[in-house]
């Protein structure tokens, strides 16, 4: 399961969230993300942490598994937080040599880190509980109004589907190429950093070659099966909302609207 999560891939198990309509999950994830981004106090973020932990529990996937999926982003989050920590002006908290950490900087760094972790967590819950087919079906329907202004919704959704579908394929391909190059005597572990960086061309070049080859093969296979870009297409399975979908959506809307209204009234 860990490998699925670390890739942000769908985990095929049974849970309340798995059974929900993809449109509901996409909309609620979007609402949660907006709430996380707009939350400007630790208290509000703490409330959102609780909400997201409950949502995560509804997916029947352990929080520790999700955490393994968040860890690859920790370095990036740390760098972003450090920038905030050192560059925000305000009341000085610690001052050593040219380093000046302010109370506002510390608060800002914590808020930013928690926000980023929560956004990644929310996105992971969506991806782990929704298959790519359902996800793109849901997105296609949600974006349908854009067709009125001649926006190529279907093409966009198809591109997204294919891109998502190929992430694990390319990841496997890169692992395969890496092992093949190791068995050729190429050493990725030792040597000066510049030399090691150069060795990664041994993975990159064959990987890009393979990607173009796969893209070409896929395009030919799709055309051979009658696919034509821009043509109106029907769906095999029509999506329909059920009672749990309405209940979940209602709870999320009340909760998040409540937070926004509370913020407007009290400013906390």
């Amino acid at each position: 399961m860990t490998e699925y999560i670390s890739l942000g891939q769908f985990v095929p198990i049974e849970s309340f969230l798995h059974r929900l309509d993809p449109r509901v999950k996409i909309t609620s994830t979007l609402m949660l993300t907006i709430a996380v981004v707009s939350a400007d106090s630790l208290l509000k973020l703490a409330l959102l942490v609780i909400v997201l932990l409950v949502v995560g529990a509804l997916s029947s996937v352990k929080i520790a598994e999700y955490w393994k999926g968040i860890t690859p982003f920790l370095f990036m989050i740390l760098i972003t937080a450090m920038i905030k920590l050192f560059l925000v002006n305000g009341t000085s908290l610690i001052s050593v040599w040219f380093i000046n950490i302010t109370v506002e900087g510390l608060k800002s760094a914590i808020l930013l880190s928690v926000r980023l972790i929560l956004i990644i967590y929310a996105a992971q819950i969506l991806l782990v509980t929704t298959s790519i087919v359902s996800l793109t079906d849901g997105l296609g329907i949600l974006l349908k109004p854009l067709e009125l202004i001649r926006f190529p919704v279907h093409e966009l959704v198809m591109i997204m589907t294919i891109s998502l579908r190929f992430i694990p394929v390319l990841l496997n391909e890169s692992r395969r190429i890496r092992m093949a190059q190791i068995s050729r005597g190429i050493n990725f572990q030792e040597g000066p950093i510049w030399e090691r960086a150069k060795t990664y061309f041994a993975i990159l070049v064959p990987l890009i070659n393979a990607s173009f080859q796969k893209a070409n093969d896929l395009a030919e296979a799709m055309e051979a099966r009658g696919y034509t870009a821009g043509r109106k297409r029907s769906r095999l399975n029509e999506l329909s909302l059920s009672r749990p979908d309405y209940i979940y959506m209602m709870v999320m809307t009340i909760l998040l609207l409540g937070m926004i209204l509370n913020q407007a009234n009290t400013g906390w």
């Binding site: 399961m1 190791i182 068995s183 050729r184 005597g185 190429i186 393979a210």
Partner: protein, 286 residues
């Protein structure tokens, strides 16, 4: 000098709890200079076994002793093992990436700490071994080579490391008939002239039996058969049940025997098969 495997087991840590035991308690010994073919259906564990032999994977249990070195105590991706046992992956030409044949061959040698004269000598030798002329090819872009030439260049990349054993994962796949013939000739020459031990996986017994003296059959990670190529006819039924057909000359002898002929089915090639039929006819066994 040999490769000894004792009760090798390897399980892939697959996602969602579906762990798969790819190799299950396999034991064998391959002597230096042998040519061994490994057959099996897709997913039988052939590639995993090669990765274990090359040190890319470490066995969960069991021992692997390569020329008196216990590989289970070597670290993963051990350079010592990689130099000793070269693993040529399926479609190795897809791993070419440099801008010239020379640079392609030199890249793997960089970690060997060789001076430029020795490096050039190794590259010349390796190209010569695979039948590519150094003067004609060293400046060429790998992308401009034919598919057969690319595959030979890929094999040369391994030969430049001077391995004692060469493992080839379905190396005959995707080549035309003349490409297969040339590769078989090359592997036989490497074995006879340079004493390189060859272990090759594949699906076509007819092709493998042309140059392998011994064949192993893997199924679901287990070693089901380990026999001299000449004795393959004894395994007609189990092989047929698994979708493998005997080399034509051995299949003919097998069917003659099942029709009551007292005939020797232990033959290496078509010539020996004809001799076996002739001697049977001379004995009046028709």
């Amino acid at each position: 000098m040999s490769i000894k495997a004792e009760n090798l087991t390897y399980t892939y840590p697959a996602p969602a709890g579906y762990t798969r035991q790819a190799v299950q308690e396999i034991s064998f010994q391959i002597d230096a200079g042998e040519i061994v073919g490994i057959i099996g259906r897709a997913g039988a564990g052939k590639t995993t076994l090669l990765k274990l032999l090359n040190g890319l994977l470490k066995p969960d249990t069991g021992k692997m002793i390569i020329d008196e070195i216990d590989s289970s105590v070597c670290k993963k991706n051990s350079q010592m093992l990689i130099k000793k046992v070269g693993l040529v992956w399926q479609f190795p030409e897809q791993q070419l990436f440099e801008t010239s044949v020379y640079k392609e061959l030199a890249f793997g040698l960089k970690s060997q700490g060789l001076d430029s004269a020795e490096e050039k000598k190794r590259i010349k030798e390796a190209l010569g071994q695979v039948g590519l002329d150094y003067e004609q090819f060293h400046d060429r872009q790998p992308a401009t080579l034919s598919s057969g030439e690319k595959r030979r260049l890929s094999i040369a990349c391994f030969l430049a490391l001077k391995p004692r054993y060469l493992l080839l994962d379905e190396a005959l796949a995707g080549l035309d008939a003349s490409g297969i013939d040339r590769l078989i000739e090359l592997l036989s020459r490497l074995n006879h002239q340079d004493g390189v031990g060859i272990i090759i996986t594949g699906h076509n017994l007819g092709q493998l039996s042309q140059f392998c003296k011994r064949v192993m059959l893997l199924e679901e990670g287990k070693l089901l058969m380990d026999t001299a190529t000449a004795d393959l006819a004894h395994y007609y039924q189990p092989l047929k049940e698994r979708g493998f057909t005997l080399p034509v000359h051995q299949e003919v002898l097998y069917h003659l025997k099942t029709r009551g002929w007292d005939i020797n089915t232990r033959v290496n090639d078509a010539e020996e098969a004809v001799q076996s039929i002739v001697s049977s006819l001379n004995r009046g066994e028709l």
